[in-house]
Amino acid sequence: MPIKVLIPTPLRPYAGKQSTIEVTAQTVGEALNDLVAQHPDLRKHLFSEDGKLRSFVNVYLNDEDIRYLAKDDTPAKETDTITIVPSVAGGQ
């Protein structure tokens, strides 16, 4: 059974207009690699040129920010949900 990745509205045009994409992986890094393999147009919206997650892109495994887990090496299992959320901030 694959892992679900929830796609935020601004990235759906690059993901076949889908809100949820299923990937096969053992870690979050593998899940993201499978995601961009399925939808190559997503790559530049998720990763900078050096291959790191863009600074404003947050990736959560269930309710946890992967930056505070093992980042790309965070283990993922079939019942997990990965959520991608761009940051929301600003001010006058």
Partner: protein, 146 residues
Amino acid sequence: MALTIPNALYHQLREHGEATYPHECCGVLVGEFGETGEKSVKAVVPCGNTRIDSLANRYHIDPAELVRVQREAMLAGRDIVGFYHSHPDHPARWSTTDLSEAHWIGCSYVITSVENGHAVLTNSFQLLGPEENKRFEDEHVEVVEQ
């Protein structure tokens, strides 16, 4: 393009700005996208402002809250269609900070000016992309009875 919002929700987000004055409020607009990109707000979700270092002129929504809101919206067959925040004693226009920190292309960014604790103007701006060349465009806010 237009953002349609029921009267009660419109007042809810404006009152949030009054309640947090002189600090900025912030929250998420949950609703539906129309076939041509227009948005209809079905729920307003107030969020906490995590910018405790600069509450009067900055806002930041905890990504963990966004994850929760997005998940619950999708379970209800809805989407995040935009965000709102207030500008205490400052015009209801987007700032360079608002633009540089905005990343939800296609979504609405609603700003309410709050003067001396009272909500004055509420304007909406649609974020257009791509990220490298993004810009805000004025967006009509249509307040409806229901």
